[in-house]
Point group: C3
Chain length 136, copies 3
Amino acid sequence: MKSATEYLWFETKRRKELVNITEALQKIVAKSGVAEGLCLASAMHITAGIWVNDEEPGLKEDLQDWLEKLAPAGDYRHHATGEDNGDAHLKRTLLGHQAVLPVTKGRLDLGPWEQIFYAEFDGQRKKRVVVKVLGE
Amino acid sequence: MKSATEYLWFETKRRKELVNITEALQKIVAKSGVAEGLCLASAMHITAGIWVNDEEPGLKEDLQDWLEKLAPAGDYRHHATGEDNGDAHLKRTLLGHQAVLPVTKGRLDLGPWEQIFYAEFDGQRKKRVVVKVLGE
Amino acid sequence: MKSATEYLWFETKRRKELVNITEALQKIVAKSGVAEGLCLASAMHITAGIWVNDEEPGLKEDLQDWLEKLAPAGDYRHHATGEDNGDAHLKRTLLGHQAVLPVTKGRLDLGPWEQIFYAEFDGQRKKRVVVKVLGE
């Protein structure tokens, strides 16, 4: 059995941003030597998530609009702590904060259009994604 | 350590459909020979998801109504590409596109009412779910 | 390869409740002897979920308000069965029903503020979470 653990660091220029991490994950899988297994990618900060969908600019804007509509910036009880990112916690919840990706023959076993994105909702500071590969 | 990979194919008659795949997954687990481990089921097309809930017709209609309310069919920027399925991408996002199921004593270790569904939001064409079993 | 399976039981006093299970999971991981691997925590009842976010009282209230807004209690077709918990099925769907947690050096490999919660939406009766640890 083999395992590998790596951390991807992000410091986005904008507060909200989608960063395609598919190639970064493929490299971690290749380096791990795992041929058959699972690869977990999980956002370690609670105002960021992981999205598995299409690298299409219009859709990415649609997603941001939709998240803003369902989990809008605004007043939250959480802001009594001095934070102003209540919406970012809810956006992470709505989108999901992790993905488990199958590894087959040493590669991420993705559908034809599946791309993996780090979804930042409160950026402009250093944040991490943990990547854990497990298999043989 | 053992692993198994299989692909379930779907071509639903309707555009939106919930297909119960619990027994199909149980068979893949049994065939894999894995007694203790994890089973990932992940929709490989970005307009479909996986739902773990109740095989109850009323609830399944409730789910579809609710998804339509929160991620309605309509105009999306994505449609500038010629597609008309922007809502299906968002419905997949809302529902979730995968489940990781525990395998115990050679069977999916599910709660009393847990059933696993392939959730199609843009069907009437061939699409796949990847199933990866990992364990011992 | 090592694996461990345990079940956490809950019987919440209120119908809706968030129960922090981070330490309970850490203990299961420690007992399993797994140093590098994955830990699945999955709500076995279809009206409960798992949330990975902040142990902050205001945010926890924000979450409940938000879930109530997007998946409100009310009339559902599911209630024709005699149940009155249609909203709880949708809240589980919105929040997500499981988390896969990385295990590194024998501990859950969490971000600085990540805590794991059992999210009950139809409590006051006995319900379970399955925990499966897999690794080496």
